[in-house]
């Protein structure tokens, strides 16, 4: 009995870790919840980070759950061979928008840096504690400025730089034409320029 159980677990474990996204989607489409669990486990952290930084705040877990449930129901619309990540993040983004729209405020949006003033190994090697502190302060100011940007520009910059998505992925995730991603990113960067170019501090847009 025990021996059989061990074998089963081992086989199951191998199957679980071996299947790729395409295979998992195909099986999940057929109603295989184990295969879908592989995708959920694989993409939870990425989906959660996206929901959190796009404004879901502490409701990010709810958004992620909701997005996975919806994604499962809409698997028939997923085109075989397409990357699963951006397709899922599109649903996560929509769910986050529903949430922030219904909340009508962005209090949960206050993103923070994890290590303001804390030791940064790279910074320490490069220039010692003073430079490091200045860098941390500058980053905190930059983060505040990103959060104060007009909504579309903020979303573009968050996707491009905080979530490390390409322009094409950002277009898919936000549901915009590629041109809008480029122009909104560029406008957002221009507004933030004062924070990296010395002597222009006074011009920072804080509306």
């Amino acid at each position: 009995m025990a021996a059989r159980g061990v074998v089963r677990v081992r086989v199951f474990g191998r199957v679980r870790s071996a299947i790729d996204d395409t295979e998992a989607v195909t099986r999940a489409r057929g109603g295989d919840l184990d295969a879908y669990a592989v995708l959920v486990a694989r993409y939870t952290a990425r989906a959660h980070r996206a929901a959190f930084v796009l404004g879901a705040g502490e409701e990010a877990d709810d958004v992620v759950q909701e997005a996975f449930v919806k994604a499962f129901r809409h698997l028939s619309r997923f085109r075989a061979g397409e990357p699963f990540g951006p397709w899922l993040l599109r649903i996560v983004t929509n769910e986050t928008r529903n949430l922030t729209r219904s909340r009508r405020r962005r209090t949960a949006l206050a993103l923070r840096l994890a290590r303001l003033g804390a030791a940064d190994p790279a910074g320490e090697a490069a220039g010692g504690p003073d430079i490091e502190l200045v860098a941390a302060e500058q980053r905190a100011r930059l983060l505040d400025a990103v959060q104060a940007l007009p909504e579309a520009e903020r979303q573009a910059l968050v996707c491009r730089y905080f979530l490390d998505l390409s322009e094409a992925e950002t277009a898919q995730v936000l549901g915009w034409p590629l041109g809008s991603v480029k122009s909104r990113t560029s406008r957002g960067l221009t507004r933030l320029r004062a924070l990296v170019v010395p002597g222009q501090q006074a011009q920072v847009c804080r509306d």
Partner: protein
């Protein structure tokens, strides 16, 4: 290298550094929760999957429209307008007759930060004793919301259909829910010799967070009827398609 390319490159690498240093809490266990939700409904293998949800959604909207119509009627009469001003609190619930926040059109309303858990774990996650009605037995699902502020016991297959029991620390003077119901549908009753409130018919329910904000995403129309009562350390509200005597029997059996 143009001027723009220079500062843009510097800015982009700074933004990426900010992204790496963002404080992002770790994700909860989505695997279990998603599986439970997917198993909780009949799984069709065809794309027709969503049609049940759409149907449910329409029914929900229709019911909401009916409530809004009733509220509009109340507001239209002088007695109604006077009644709107009467707001009172009972066991952590504020009862008013304004329409309040319009529930988000999402078919799925949820309390903030809700997590599926077990009864045993839930008892460690909340600061108040979780009471379980003996006549209902073990709940189908247990949910803890808003960092242990509310525990919900969900019973899917009772003789009354779906029954939901929300429990919270009612002895503290805090607000947990706002309800918008017609005063004519409220009756004062007794549970274990203490005052309780019986509300007949669906009404709009919205959750109030620790800092006093209403959580719009939680706004929904309740199902059936509701009974609110409290003990020394916990307040409870039960809702479902239950009659008054059944609700009182369930409340009496909560230990």
């Amino acid at each position: 290298m143009t001027d723009r390319a220079r500062w843009q490159g510097a800015l982009e690498s700074e933004l990426r550094a900010v992204g790496r240093e963002l404080q992002v809490p770790s994700a909860g266990d989505a695997v279990t929760a998603v599986r439970q939700r997917l198993q909780g409904r009949p799984v069709s293998r065809r794309p027709a999957w969503g049609s049940g949800a759409v149907h449910h959604h329409r029914r929900w909207l229709a019911a909401l429209a009916a409530v809004t119509a009733v509220l509009a009627l109340i507001i239209a009469t002088p007695q109604g307008r006077a009644a709107i001003l009467r707001v009172f609190r009972f066991a952590g619930v504020e009862l008013g007759q304004q329409p309040g926040p319009v529930p988000s059109p999402r078919g799925h309303a949820s309390l903030p930060g809700q997590r599926w858990t077990s009864l045993g774990r839930a008892r460690h996650e909340v600061s108040f004793p979780i009471l379980v009605p003996g006549v209902l037995g073990a709940p189908t699902q247990v949910i803890v919301s808003d960092r242990g502020r509310v525990a919900s016991l969900i019973y899917r297959r009772t003789r009354y259909g779906l029954v939901r029991l929300d429990e919270y620390a009612g002895h503290i003077d805090q607000l947990y829910f706002k309800k918008f119901a017609n005063a004519a549908n409220m009756t004062e009753v007794q549970v274990n010799g203490a005052s309780a409130l019986w509300i007949k018919g669906p009404h709009v329910l919205v959750y109030v967070t620790r800092d006093g904000y209403t959580a719009s995403a939680s706004a929904r129309l309740t199902t059936g009827n509701t009974l609110i009562w409290s003990t020394r350390r916990v307040a409870l509200r039960i809702e479902g398609n239950i009659g008054q005597s059944a609700a009182l029997a369930i409340a009496d059996s909560a230990r």
